[in-house]
């Protein structure tokens, strides 16, 4: 009984994870500029991948597998924001400006002030 309950829960988690990954892909395709796309890829992507690993942990029914899956989740949650941040920073410094929809850009304002002060 408990065994099949774990199977049902794991299956639902697996499906939810795949859905989130799909949302991330839709977001990367639909959103207007690089920085907004990064939101979709880093958040929905990390949650989706994490949920899939969690599903493997639940469905594996083995502590050793569960521990490895949890390590994988922690790793994913640590590295995804890091790579998104690195990419955002590199792109901004390389001169990829945010799209025309953007309402405010404090970096540009501060950079202007700094160059005016010099």
């Amino acid at each position: 009984m408990l065994h099949s309950l774990a199977l049902y829960v794991g299956g639902i988690v697996l499906l939810a994870g795949s859905l989130f990954v799909l949302m991330a892909a839709i977001g990367v395709l639909r959103l207007p500029d690089l920085y907004t796309r990064m939101h979709a890829a880093s958040k929905a992507g990390a949650v989706g991948g994490g949920l899939i690993l969690l599903a493997v942990a639940v469905l594996g029914q083995d502590a050793a597998i569960a521990v490895r899956a949890v390590i994988g989740i922690v790793f994913l949650l640590l590295t995804t924001p890091l790579s998104a941040h690195l990419l955002a920073r590199a792109s901004y410094l390389a001169g990829y400006k945010p799209g025309s929809e953007t309402v405010a850009d404090d970096i540009a304002i501060n950079a202007e002030q700094n160059s005016a002060n010099k």
């Binding site: 990954v21 799909l22 994913l76």
Partner: protein
């Protein structure tokens, strides 16, 4: 519906969803328009591939695949870091030249 059958269907559905995600991020890689967009889509592609491996691990019951998924996550992270550095370096060199 028995639990085993349920898992069978759910993992199949997950594979279909992930295949769609794969196609969508592939579209973003092709249309770009900038290098950063492509790198971002590649990063997502690694997550999709991880998802594939997870779903296949569930389907086949071979949890050894989990190690591959973790290694792939590491590889994807390193690739993104290296490419971000490349973008930065390329921009600096462009300014100097």
């Amino acid at each position: 519906m028995s639990a085993e059958l349920f898992i069978d269907w759910v993992s199949l559905a997950s594979l279909v969803l992930l295949a769609l995600a794969l196609l969508l991020s592939l579209a973003r890689i092709i249309i770009g328009p900038t290098l950063s967009d492509r790198v971002l889509a590649l990063d997502l592609l690694t997550v999709v591939a991880m998802g594939f491996i997870g779903a296949i691990a569930v389907r086949t019951g071979l949890t050894l695949y989990l190690d591959i998924a973790i290694a792939l996550a590491l590889l994807g992270f390193l690739a993104t870091v290296a490419l971000a550095r490349y973008i930065l370096l390329r921009a600096q060199r462009g300014e100097n030249a």
